[in-house]
Every structure is written in structure tokens, then in C-alpha cells.
Amino acid sequence: MTRILGVLGLLIVLYALLIESNPAAGSSRNLMYVANIQGRYGVVTLAAALVIIVGGIDLSIGSVVGCSAVMFGVLMEEGVHPFAAVGWTLLFGVQVGLVNGLLITKLRLQPFLVTLCGMFIYRGEARLIGGVVSPAQVIDEHPHFEHSLNTLTYLLIGKNEKGALVFPAMFILLLVLAVVIGFFLHRTAYGRYWYAIGHNELAAKYAGVNVDRQRTIVYVICSMLASLGGILLFLDSSTIQADSAGAGLELYAILGAVLGGCSLRGGEGTAIGMVLGAMVLPVLETLVSFRGLKNNVIPAVIGLTLLVGTIVDELIRRRSRVHR
């Protein structure tokens, strides 16, 4: 519980500041917009967090997001139906996770190294298969996809055919995913295995857990979520550039996970914490823009806010530990 108190407090303060900054900032439309971005961040945060719980790390998330976005677009340009393209793209994610997982478990390579290589490889793959893709272009080439693409966009992004944001579908998606993942983490045997593996792999192994399989499963889920993130990115963005789409996202994802209470030593983290952790950065960025801050100060402000948040969080936790 105290694990999420800090991040909750941080969020409340940020929201308060945001709403106070400008009447437009507190409008339901703007909050919806922010929630939607939080949803997109959240999906990859869940991905990163799961891997962190089993004591690993995934630096390829950003590239997988980018590559999936490009692949999704290219597939449709090549004439694959949007719904089928969703399937294929998620399958790509599964394959990436499988490769990562097997290299890490069977060859016992360091996750950091494997996924850093993945970061290069999938960025390269994205660039190889396409340069710029966009929903507009897809519809241009295959006008009969327009309807399905609009449906997808409505369902996953919450934008109508005119591109207007109607409801924060990505945030709802995040909540649904978090509930599912939370269920697995906190209510099923799989979750127990993941926490145990993250904290003490040997203990799990001696207890008869198939550590390698569980780890691989988690990497697969992670990359699949990253692919989903790519699909969302494609549907939400006006245009996707292969060389930059999703770049650096892995750090934001990990940041969200850690803010939400995951420890990089593994074995810790809750689903609700992940959602809260993922919500921080989008509010902060929106706040900074609404305040009309000079661009130059923005990184420093973000860094300092996060740092202060972390410190306060730690102090709260420490205090609660003493009083227990």
C-alpha cells in the first residue's frame, strides 16, 4: 500500500497544478486527451513492469513499438486487411519476445545485452521495411479499408472517423489490460512464480517451477504488449517515421514501472502501481506545456519533479516502515 502512496500523491499534486494552470486544462476534453496518452504509455509500462518483476529488463520496447507501427502500416499498404494486420503484428511481438526469452533463458545471456541488441535490430528492421507510413496513406491505396480502419481507431483510440477524440479508449484499454495482468499477478499461480523468480530464481527452481518457461512467457507478453503499443501509435499518429517512431520509449516505460513501485532488483510491483506510474509523465508534460514554460527548461523541470517525487515517496515509505 505505501508503495503506491508516493506516486498517488505526486499524481494528485500534478493534476491539481494542471487544473489550476488554465481553465482549458481542466476541461473534460483535455483530461480525456491526457488520459488517452496515459493509456498508450501505460501499455508499454505494463510490458516493462512485467519483465522487471521477473528480474529482467527490456530495452527493445521502443524499437519494437516503432517496428510494429511500421509493420502494421506496411502490411495494410500491401493489402492485408486491418484486422488481420493487427493479428500479424501481435504475432511479430510474440516472435520478438520468444527470441528474447530463449536467448536469455537457454543461452543465459544478460537481458540488458540481448534487448539492447534487439533495440538496434528492430529499429533496423523498421527502417528496412518502410520509411513513412500513415493511416491516410493506407486508405489512399486501399479505400475499402477505410471502414475497418475507422472501426479500429474508434475502438482502440476513441477517435471518430473525423479524427475527433470521443472517449479515452486507450486509457480504458490500459485499465482492462491492467485488470487482466493484475489478475494474473495477484490472483493466479503464475503471478506467484513471477514474483518468486524475480526475487530468488533458485528458490523457485528448487520448488519445481519451470523458471525458463515462465521467464520466456513474460518476455513474450512484454513484447506483445509493445507490439500493441505500436498498433496504437500507428492509429493515433498522423504519420509514423521508421527511424524515430517509439524511440526512447523503453526508458519512459521503465521509468513508469519504477515510479509505480517496481524494483529493478526484481520481485516487486503491483498492477495498480504500474498504471499510476504510467500516468505521471503525460500529466507532467501537459502541465509543463500549459504553463507555457520555455522549452529549454522542460527537461530540467521534468527531471527535478520526478526526483522530488521519488524522494518524497521514499520518505513516506521509510516513515511507514518505522511506524509499523
Binding site: 514474483y195 530468488n200 528458490a203 523457485a204 527452481k205 520448488a207
Partner: protein
């Protein structure tokens, strides 16, 4: 005395290992060991540190694969590739070292790998059922049911050990292997364990039991198998299980003067270390006062979780002191970190060797030198010659069984690791030596040597404070005993009053007679 080979009749053989061999880099751990285990029998496996006991058990339980040899379970040849397979076949191992997911609750750990679930492939945890079973399992090993929901990392080592036992009880076992289950238990919990073992026996479970506490072996074993240097050294039938017989097989000679009192005078000199009304963060609310005198061995007894380790850690600077004071040679001493304590000459041989005692992946030599580096250092780095001498000296004096000082400590047998922890501290000249469970997992031969060393140190005027859960050791070595009960000092015993009964009475909260 000729080696006796008590026969087990074919029909009731549960487990048979023939010609097990295991080669580690540089070490031949097992060189053709064979054992037989009958249904409902307790076979104790004893031997010196590094004899290969744990290795043999790990082979049986599917942790290691043997290089040669065969295992039969109830007449069927088996070869487990993973611990999971072994567990499913009914072979369960309680490891010598704790292996718990400490970030989870006790219940989670009790059922790790075999959760009670509903929902088919979804494997939804059936928490109610598990909690109910958990409190039952815990009560069988004598732990309160309230522990079921505690995170394991908040438990003292002794309780963790009991959780491990409880976990094994929860499994559907045919063969239960216990590798030094009592090394961090006190007499009371140990007695409890015997009861558990007896109950299991009566239901036909076969038990392989490893221990260095020979009195215990005498109590539980139906038969004893002695290993030496990775080979069978002999077997003893129930009637022949005596301390001397076992020692003779293990060490190959008789041990004289097991608890020496050669260098000590028996009564201490001036107090060296005194605690006055000491309170520390996270500790009990009753202040603790006691003193350790020069040239004496102060024993400290108590049940598991009585707070002895915590108290020693407070004095060693690990825990923050909130009240009272520590006097060294009568002068107040401020200890804010182990560094301060060490600088003042207070040394601690910690209880948990894997957590506090050793840098496991590093070499034996690295570990031996670590606390003494300030003495070995010069402007041109650590003096290689002096360091090598220190390594050679202590490996030899403690007879650490290791291929070289460059061997990673993680690859030593448990007892040999303990010896390294020892050597590491003895290599510095202590003023006050705090020993927390000093002979955990150490074989009889080495124990004798360690006792001799302690005696010699005390004889030189060192104040020795020995925390131990081993009653024999306590009575044999201590000149004076302080007993703790639930965080406070329950009383002090010495001379005439120092008896097993008196210690037990104080430890369990009874009044002093």
C-alpha cells in the same frame, strides 16, 4: 571395530543409489557412493565437511545430474532432470541453505510450485484453502498460525528454517531429505522436529537426514551411513550408533578433549564490553544490560527469535542504538557502523554466512583478506606476499577443503564456507569476539579445532561472546551463560547453576529456580 553392514530386505527398499559419481571442476565430490533406504526408515548420512553429503542429496533430488551411477525409487530406475520432476515423483529436499522467495508470504512459499488452484489453466489461487492448510502445516512445526501472512524476509533465520520444513511436509512425499535442518534451530524446535519425523515415519515416509550434531543423529537415526572423501566409509546399525563410532568412521581417529579448557582460567577478568540499558531501533522495548569479561567465554542462549542476533548486531553497529550505552574497557564507545566496531576491536562472526558472511562469487582468498585489507595495504596496493601467507595460514589452520585459495567461496561445501567466515575474522586480532552460531554446519573434527582456537583466544585475554543454539556446545564451552527470552535478558547462569534444565527454563520464560 569392523564396519557393520546392516541388511535391508529387498521388498521394503524405497530408495537405492548405487555407484554415484560426481566430478566438479577440480573436485571429485562423489566417487561411487551407494546407499539404501527402506520404507519408513530414517537413514542419517554423516561425514566431514566436504565429504559429499549435500552433493549426493542434490543428485537424488534432481538438482545435479550424476556422472555415473544409478538411482532406483521403489524398484524403478529414475533420473530426475529438474527438482520439479523429483518433487512430482515424491522426492523432496530441504536444502542446507535457505531457499525461500523472501518477498512472498509464508503461505506463498509453503505452496510455491504446487499452489492449490481453481479455474483450470487459469490457475486461480485458492487462498482460503491454502491459508487453512498453511496454519495446519505451521502448527506441525510449532510456528504460530499468524506467521502464515508474514513476508518471509521479516522472519529470523530459525523460523525460516522451520518454514522450509513445513513446506516439505506439505508435499506428498515418499522420500524426504533433510540437509542439516536443525543447524539454526534450538533444542525446543529440534525436539518438535523429531516428533514430526516420527509421525512421518509411521506413515511410511523414508527420510534421509544429514546433521553434524551427533547427539541428534543418535536420537533420530535408524541407521547411519558415513561418507568420507566422496566414498562410503561405513555404516552403523541402530545399536552401534555412538558418538565415538561415528567420529572414528568420519575422521579416522579419536578426538580427545572435545571441549577444551586449557588456556582459560574459568573465570573472567575485568569487563571488556558492557552494555548498559541498551535499546535499539526495531528491537524489544526492554533494555538489555550485560557484560563480557576478558578471558572468558560468555554463552548466550535462547529460543529461535529470542533476539540474540539482534542484540549482537546492535552492538556491532548494524542496528541504530536509541538508548543506553556501550562501554569498552569501561569507556563509553559510540558504534554507528560495523566499521567503528571493528576499529574498536569488536568482531562479529555473523549467523547467516551467505547473507552477511561471505562474498560468495569471490574466491576464498578474497573473503579471507577482506576485513584485513587495511593491514595488508601499502602505497603500491595490497601486499601480495603477506596476503598469500594469510591465505595459506588460515586455510591450513582451519583445514578448509578447497582446491586453492582462488576457488569461489560459493563452490565450497556449507561447512567449509563457515570455516572461511571464521578465518576471515580470526585473521584480525580481536578484543571482543562475537560468535553467532559459530559451528553451524561444521563437522566434529573442525568443531574441535574451532573450540581449541576459541579457548586459546580467550586464554590470551580476548572476551568471547558466543551465541549458540547448540546446548551441548553451550554447556561445553561457556564459562557463564546469559539466557534471553523474547527480547529481554531472562537471567544469568554460571558454575553450579549452569545446567541444561536451568537454561531451558529461563529460555522458555520460566522463573529461575
Amino acid at each position: 571395530m569392523p564396519p557393520l553392514r546392516p541388511q535391508v530386505t529387498g521388498a521394503s527398499i524405497r530408495l537405492q543409489v548405487t555407484g554415484a559419481r560426481k566430478q566438479f571442476p577440480g573436485v571429485l565430490a562423489l566417487d561411487g557412493v551407494s546407499i539404501t533406504l527402506a520404507v519408513g526408515e530414517v537413514l542419517a548420512v554423516v561425514g566431514e565437511n566436504g565429504a559429499g553429503k549435500s552433493t549426493l542429496m542434490k543428485i537424488v533430488a534432481g538438482v545435479y545430474d550424476s556422472d555415473a551411477g544409478e538411482i532406483q525409487l521403489d524398484g524403478q530406475p529414475v533420473r530426475f532432470k529438474t527438482p520439479g520432476e523429483a518433487i512430482r515423483a515424491g522426492v523432496s529436499l530441504i536444502h542446507q541453505e535457505l531457499n525461500l522467495a523472501e518477498n512472498l508470504t509464508v503461505t506463498d512459499n509453503l505452496f510455491l510450485g504446487r499452489e492449490l488452484t481453481t479455474g483450470g489453466g487459469l490457475r486461480i489461487l485458492n487462498r482460503r484453502e491454502m491459508s487453512a492448510r498453511a496454519s495446519e502445516l505451521l502448527s506441525r512445526v510449532g510456528l504460530p498460525a499468524s506467521r502464515a501472512f508474514a513476508r518471509v524476509e521479516t522472519l529470523p533465520p530459525g523460523e525460516k528454517q522451520l518454514v522450509e520444513v513445513a513446506r516439505a511436509l506439505g508435499m506428498d512425499v515418499r522420500v524426504l531429505i533433510m540437509d542439516e535442518p536443525t543447524s539454526s534451530l534450538t533444542q525446543k524446535e529440534t525436539e518438535r522436529l523429531y516428533e514430526v519425523i516420527d509421525a512421518l515415519k509411521s506413515t511410511g515416509v523414508s527420510i534421509l537426514y544429514i546433521s553434524h550434531r551427533l547427539a541428534e543423529v543418535k536420537r533420530v537415526a535408524d541407521r547411519v551411513c558415513v561418507l568420507r572423501d566422496g566414498r562410503n566409509a561405513g555404516e552403523l546399525a541402530k545399536a552401534d550408533i555412538t558418538h565415538d563410532n561415528m567420529v572414528r568412521f568420519m575422521v579416522g581417529r579419536d578426538l580427545k578433549q572435545f571441549y577444551p579448557k586449557v588456556h582459560r582460567k574459568g573465570v573472567g577478568g575485568a569487563p571488556v564490553l558492557s552494555a548498559r540499558e541498551l535499546l535499539f531501533r526495531g528491537g524489544p522495548t526492554t533494555p538489555a544490560s550485560f557484560e563480557v569479561r576478558s578471558g572468558e567465554i560468555l554463552g548466550m542462549a535462547g529460543l529461535v527469535g529470542a533476539g540474540r542476533t539482534e542484540l549482537s548486531e546492535a552492538i556491532f553497529g548494524v542496528r541504530h542504538i536509541t538508548g543506553g550505552e556501550i562501554l569498552l574497557d569501561g569507556k563509553p564507545l559510540r558504534v554507528r557502523s560495523p566499521r567503528d566496531a571493528i576499529a574498536a576491536g569488536i568482531l562479529l562472526v555473523p549467523e547467516d554466512r551467505r547473507l552477511h558472511g561471505l562474498v560468495l562469487p569471490e574466491s576464498v582468498g578474497f573473503n579471507l583478506s577482506l576485513p584485513s585489507l587495511d593491514r595488508l595495504a601499502s602505497w603500491f596496493g595490497v601486499r601480495v606476499g603477506a596476503e598469500r601467507e594469510l591465505h595459506r595460514d588460515w586455510i591450513a589452520r582451519l583445514r578448509v577443503k578447497t582446491p586453492s585459495s582462488a576457488q569461489p567461496a560459493a563452490l565450497l561445501s556449507g561447512g567449509n564456507q563457515q570455516k572461511v567466515v571464521y578465518g576471515k575474522w580470526l585473521a584480525r586480532n580481536p578484543k571482543v569476539l562475537i560468535l553467532d552460531e559459530p559451528t553451524r554446519g561444521v563437522d566434529v573434527g573442525a568443531k574441535a579445532e574451532i573450540y581449541a582456537l576459541i579457548d586459546e583466544l580467550a586464554g590470551r585475554g580476548v572476551a568471547v561472546w558466543m551465541i549458540t543454539s547448540d546446548m551441548e556446545e553451550l554447556l561445553g564451552m561457556a564459562d557463564r551463560v546469559v539466557v534471553m527470552h523474547e527480547g529481554h535478558i531472562a537471567g544469568e547462569l554460571s558454575g553450579e547453576t549452569l545446567t541444561e534444565e536451568a537454561v531451558m527454563q529461563l529460555a522458555t520464560g520460566g522463573k529461575r529456580t
